[in-house]
Amino acid sequence: MHPKQPDRRRFLKNGAALAGLAVGASASARPLAAAPPPERIDELHLYGERSRFVTSVRNGSINNPERRLKGEPTVFGLRTPLQDSAGIITPSSLHFIISHGFEPKDINPQEHRLLIHGMVDRPLIFTLDELKRLPFVTRFHFVECHGNSNTGGLGGDARVAVNATPQETHGFTSCSQWTGVPLSLLLKEAGVQKSATWIVAEGADEPKHSKSIPLGKALDDALVAYAQNGEPVRPEQGFPLRLVVPGWQGINSVKWLRRIDLVDEPYMFMMETSRYPSMRLDGKSRWFEFELGPKSVITRPAGGYQLPGRGFHEITGLAWSGGGAVRRVEISTDGGRTWKDAQLHDPIASKSHTRFSSPWTWDGEETILQSRCTDDQGVVQPTMAEVAKLWNVDSVEFFRQTTQVVGDFNAIQPWKVNRDGSVQNALF
């Protein structure tokens, strides 16, 4: 991060050593030299840094008034550079961020509490240490924003652009190994009353983000996560506690979780009624959409990549589904005329990114690369035309023109390979 500093340090240390030599004769008579200045933890290798030659970063902005005044771009959120990914884990430092214009909350874990109350026999309040004493689960799960890959809204222009990379087209999904207490265990401890049908999950961030979630899902596979990829959940991801609601729109996975209220109806919070419903052209909005459909994207060769020339290139990418595990990924390298099965790499987990690959030899001609995911419920990732049908629009132009977020957009992503080896977004 400060490449020049080590040199300066080395110079100072060497200087001190020379000075010591010069007075060597009388050194033993002098008091011990003052301890050298403490080194930075990265110099001591106490916490690792990646190579300075690796430069892959998120792009975008938290996008809040203070940052806009400073001239940061008015793009919504920060996206994961999927084109640089390998395997299924998103490094925590590259996990996408959407925090609705508010800075990540800086929370002292010693002071943080989780309250469970409402329609329960025994309201309970937990410290972080207490939660860590309980039985836990460790699972791979993706978190995906419902607006990922959508063509409207903020970021829509970059998403449909010819030069869009996987970061621009699909960067609002990330995958982690989450560790935490099953929410069902905590709810059982509190004793859920029969009248309860929904939960309200609430964060400790400044706007206290809140989400209504059906009790059935809360009891099924939601977890109160305190660790992500082997270390405490990152501040931007909800430190010290994040509710992870596998396979459902990311808005349900409440960060900085501090309260679970057992209730008997959805509470109609601002986000779930005014921002996240998907609008149809007849003026009606779909709200309380939960589960994300099967989806995939080739991450290399993909938009922004330059093929060095004809010859062998292993195609690779990510597939995932909110409905369960990925059962199959098919690849087409000829514009959709033929499809063949890609290899799925372990681990293949439910509601998790799954890495796929497929050998390909480029003959130097123009072509289209696509991937198609099928999940273990038998649901197949739709084509653009099928998504248009779902929205009851006869032209894909709707998706290019609308200013609204088209939620849960999971159409097959085509990448066009040009004769010069450049690869482009060919969705439209």
């Binding site: 309040i125 206290k208 509470y267 003026g283």
Partner: protein, 195 residues
């Protein structure tokens, strides 16, 4: 032998089911919160008004509060600006919902007036959340709804009247009743099945 084993495991399952909501399994992990601890955090307002505190306010009372605490981001007339979105807007906005450029303003789009109270109370003003009194939140809610021509300037909003305010786009959402689609996975739009 096999039968009795099955029977035994069946009894265990039954017992587990019966005790599901009864006995905690982990001793001395977590504690009962005090009433005050719950009250301090229990701020969510349900669509039927559940959780609304006592207090009241009118649009007239809200106008100076809006000018002092909200206008800097949302504009003097609630038109929105670089720092905050538009907050005033009514039926004209509802008419845009069938176009490619729909405007989702509070008055034109939000289905419940209680959400307005809840959001102002939990999230506004930016960087000073938690500083508004209940009366101020009622007054600001009234100001926004009156300027959006949903209630009158003199209408008093309180825990009883606020949930009764009819928002113009209340019926603009599908499914209207969640119980119409019991499988929650299909409440959105899945496998071509849309509400």
């Amino acid at each position: 032998m096999r039968f009795s084993k099955l029977l035994a495991s069946g009894i265990v399952l039954l017992a587990a089911g019966a005790s599901w909501a009864q006995t905690p399994s982990y001793s001395n992990v977590g504690r009962a919160p005090t009433k005050e601890e719950i009250q301090a955090w229990d701020i969510a307002i349900g669509p039927d008004g559940k959780g609304l505190p006592s207090g009241q306010g009118t649009a007239k009372e809200g106008a100076p509060i809006y000018a002092a605490k909200c206008a800097v981001c949302h504009g003097a007339a609630g038109q929105g600006g670089a720092l905050g979105p538009r907050v005033i807007g009514g039926k004209a906005d509802t008419a845009t919902l069938t176009t490619l450029r729909p405007v989702r303003s509070i008055g034109g789009y939000w289905p419940y007036a209680t959400s307005v109270w809840d959001f102002i109370n939990r999230a506004m003003p930016r960087s000073q959340t938690g500083t508004l009194t209940a009366n101020e939140v009622y007054s600001l809610t009234a100001f926004i709804l009156a300027k959006s021509e949903i209630i009158k300037e003199d209408d008093v909003l309180d825990a009883k009247t606020l949930p009764k305010v009819q928002m113009p786009n209340r019926n603009g959402f599908v499914p209207q009743k969640f119980e119409d689609i019991p499988d929650e996975r299909k409440r959105g739009c899945r496998q071509g099945v849309c509400p």
